[in-house]
Symmetry: C2
Subunit: 213 residues, 2 copies
């Protein structure tokens, strides 16, 4: 793990290069997904390929550093919203934020959905995200804003699903995910509907293998 923020005692240009590298990598991963070649990231940063590997031992380490950054941001949103009075509105805002992030970052949704690419730190962060989502969801349930049989894991999973629904339209209709988010929210609000047919996902780690699309 080389990706920590050890900015102390380093040479000045190294710190600058690290920043350039992270910015370039963030943009490149967002635009092209995890498959983007290291060479292109280096080029975007105005560096040589070798320099990338001086800062991060492997491509996965670089990816993990960036994904952790985004996950922490989302977790922060969730933790801020937990204080809100209207838990239903808070949950809606969290989901809006989440799907928006997914729609803007190709690598992020690939990593979320494909556990085989994940560092253990990323796994842990997803766990924390799920915990935060569970807290939000619990309050919304208590306030009757969502049906009783919905869990935080459901919510996190739905983020990926909603984005994926609109993904084929992304180029032509970049905001189309709002339509399917609204649809899902209507489903979540159906407090009178019979319970969902399949038991809610439990405490299991999401995707212990990589049986995903």
């Amino acid at each position: 793990m080389t990706g920590t923020t050890a900015t102390s005692g380093q040479r000045a240009d190294m710190v600058r290069n690290r920043r350039l590298l992270l910015e370039a990598a963030t943009a490149a991963f967002a635009e092209h997904g995890v498959e983007v070649p290291i060479g292109e990231i280096a080029q975007r940063a105005g560096l040589a390929k070798g320099t990338v590997f001086r800062h991060f031992a492997s491509k996965e380490d670089l990816l993990a550093a960036i994904m952790l950054q985004m996950l922490d941001q989302l977790i922060g949103t969730a933790e801020r919203l937990i204080e809100a009075d209207d838990a239903g509105a808070a949950l809606r805002e969290f989901m809006t934020d989440g799907v928006e992030v997914l729609a803007a970052d190709r690598a992020f949704c690939e990593v979320i959905g494909r556990p085989s690419l994940q560092h253990s730190e990323v796994r842990d962060a997803i766990g924390r995200l799920r915990d935060a989502a569970e807290a939000l969801t619990a309050r919304a349930r208590d306030q009757g804003a969502v049906r009783a049989d919905v869990t935080g894991t459901d919510i996190v999973l739905l983020l990926g699903g909603i984005h994926q629904t609109a993904a084929p339209l992304l180029a032509a209709e970049p905001q189309a995910w709002r339509r399917y988010l609204a649809l899902a929210l209507d489903g979540l609000r159906a407090t009178d509907a019979p319970d969902l047919p399949y038991p809610p996902p439990g405490r299991l780690r999401l995707g212990d293998t990589d049986e995903v699309c």
Copy 2:
């Protein structure tokens, strides 16, 4: 395009090999997705790599042939269900079938969601699928079984989204998609809810570029 069913006037072993190849490729694509190497497909079929290219000019041709097969099957299901009395039940059955197919075939959902991989024939077939879904949806709307602002394109897109929602659980909970299908159906049934906020996707070709995850 070498992938047509020109089984006439060919040598007997060639016909047999073509069948073996198609079976192996179907299984391999389903299991590992479109990234599965041609070499592995050949091995599964008990053939050499070169033989694969005698039957299909490129990997894409082979993939397209198999995807067309699956799409036709789904379209058939839709067209059969159009006769049903209960249009709501028919739509539910179509969606159940669709998500089940997606959950069982990794390549299929990759191709559906990533138009950049698609032959024009596959595009056309998806268009036909959408038409069939539109017919089913129209009847369900008329019968008041689903809200008024839902289209056939919505339904087709939802198939991918619902599967994707449950995808991270696929290994641990192979049937989890049923939960999220039920949730989506509750959203579709919310005839009293306000109209969906974003306009329904129109006649545009799904994904004219490949801006997808």
